[in-house]
Each structure stands twice: as structure tokens, then as C-alpha cells.
């Protein structure tokens, strides 16, 4: 059981990237995170949401789903879509791997999520969608 939870769904368009990361940051404030922790969370959310927006639906319409939970001093985030899925998750998570080099994608999204969050898990079913689950323990302010 979580101490608190929130959920949002929004259309998979790039204008919602900032909406998503700001929403998570606003929710996470109740854990009293440091500015650097907020930036890390925002960056990881931005990467996951951008992946869904760029890759999940190609040119058709779809939604991205965002869920956050708090238990004690840990933030849990799930970002999912109902899009085409990832064929090979291991390859997708390799640094610099991208299916869209012509669009100047860096292939560093998962690398950044791994660097900025404590845990990350990716589940994907081809043709059904992708779920990225991440968590991060927020250190108590008194320790800083």
C-alpha cells in the first residue's frame, strides 16, 4: 500500500513532455527532495515520456500513461503506452542505440534514466506497448 498515488493520461504529443515532468516534480515535492534530486527525476521522466511519444505510435494517435506512488521516502514512477512495443529491450537500452539516427536522436534515454534513478525496469510486448518502472529514494534533508 502506498502512502500517496497519482495518475495521469495525456496525448502522445511533444508539447506534453514538459507537462509530464513538471507534474511528477510537483508530486515529488511532498518528499522534500533537494533541487538536484528534482532535476534528476524530471530528466528521467522526460526521457521515458519522450520515448513513448517518439516511438510508440508512429503517426497515429495514442496516449501516454503516468503513475506515481510514494511509500515512506521512496518515489515510484511508471510510464506506459499502448503502442507498438520494443522488439529487443537489451538492444534498446544499449548506450547510443537508436532506431532514428536520421532524426538526431542520441540513443541515451535509457542511459540517463539508469544514471538518475535508483532502479529501472522495462517491460514491453511487441504490438501491445511498453512499461517503464523507476524508483528513487529521496534522502532526508537533515543529512545535507
Amino acid at each position: 500500500m502506498y502512502d500517496n498515488e497519482m495518475a495521469l493520461s495525456f496525448r502522445a504529443v511533444s508539447a506534453n513532455e514538459s507537462f509530464a515532468r513538471i507534474s511528477v516534480a510537483a508530486f515529488a515535492v511532498q518528499l522534500d527532495p533537494a533541487v538536484s534530486e528534482i532535476t534528476e527525476i524530471k530528466t528521467a521522466v522526460s526521457e521515458a515520456v519522450t520515448n513513448s511519444i517518439i516511438h510508440a505510435y508512429d503517426d497515429s494517435d495514442g496516449f501516454v500513461h503516468l503513475w506515481c506512488g510514494i511509500k515512506e521516502n521512496k518515489l515510484y514512477i511508471k510510464i506506459s503506452d499502448d503502442g507498438k512495443g520494443i522488439k529487443d529491450i537489451h538492444m534498446a537500452m544499449e548506450p547510443l542505440f537508436t532506431t532514428k539516427p536520421e532524426q538526431e536522436r542520441s540513443g541515451l534515454g535509457f542511459t540517463i534514466m539508469q544514471s538518475f534513478m535508483d532502479e529501472i525496469d522495462v517491460k514491453s510486448e511487441f504490438g501491445k506497448g511498453t512499461l517503464v518502472s523507476m524508483s528513487k529514494t529521496i534522502s532526508p534533508q537533515s543529512g545535507r
Binding site: 532535476t39 530528466t43 519522450t50 517518439i54 538526431e104 536522436r105 540517463i112 544514471s115
Partner: protein
């Protein structure tokens, strides 16, 4: 304006006043290339003084402009990075090919 341009000698200075994500980059990269071509510069300096957020889309944007300036025999450099942006530059390995300066003046003097 979220992006403003200035030409100093052979460099296009790109002043960004926005968070840098995929949405921003898709709207801005063509504009940067257009300005760089029109002004005939061979170098690009990104001024990140007013940028407090950047994700990996920014890395793609910088690498794309690096390719552009390399073709013209010039360089792409970045100035005024916050700690967060420095960290993204380190994680990506971009610091190995893109020089980081403390100010636009320093960056434009170096070319």
C-alpha cells in the same frame, strides 16, 4: 524569444532561453541550421546561460550541429553550463568532442 542569434566574427552565437527537450529541439534545430547557412559562419557557440533543464534531446541537437560545423571546417562549442547540464555532457561523453567554456566571449575568442 526562446532562441536568439548573434554573429561574432565567424561564429553563430545561439542564445537559448528555454528548457531543452525533444519538443524544443524539433522546433529549433532547423532554425539554427538556417541561420548558420544564411550568415555563412563556420562555427556555432551554444550559450546555455539561461537553460536550467536539458535531457538527451539536447545531446542530439549539439551532435547534429557538430556535424554541420565539421563539414565547414569549423567547430561547435558550448558556454555557461549549469551543473546539471555538465552532468549530461559527461554521461553522454560529449565533452570529448565539444569544448565547454565559461563564457560566450571565451568560446568565440577560442575559434
Amino acid at each position: 524569444m526562446s532562441v536568439e542569434f548573434k554573429v561574432i566574427n565567424s561564429s553563430l552565437i545561439v542564445n537559448i532561453n528555454s528548457e531543452i527537450d525533444h519538443h524544443f529541439v524539433d522546433e529549433t534545430k532547423k532554425l539554427i541550421d538556417k541561420k548558420a547557412s544564411e550568415s555563412g559562419v563556420k562555427n556555432i557557440v551554444f550559450n546555455f546561460e539561461n537553460v536550467d533543464f536539458m535531457d538527451s534531446a539536447g545531446i542530439g541537437m549539439i551532435i547534429g550541429r557538430y556535424k554541420f560545423t565539421t563539414q565547414k571546417g569549423g567547430i561547435t562549442s558550448v558556454a555557461c553550463l549549469s551543473e546539471n547540464l555538465k552532468r549530461i555532457m559527461m554521461i553522454s561523453g560529449l565533452y570529448r568532442i565539444i569544448k565547454i567554456y565559461n563564457s560566450v566571449e571565451e568560446a568565440s575568442r577560442a575559434v
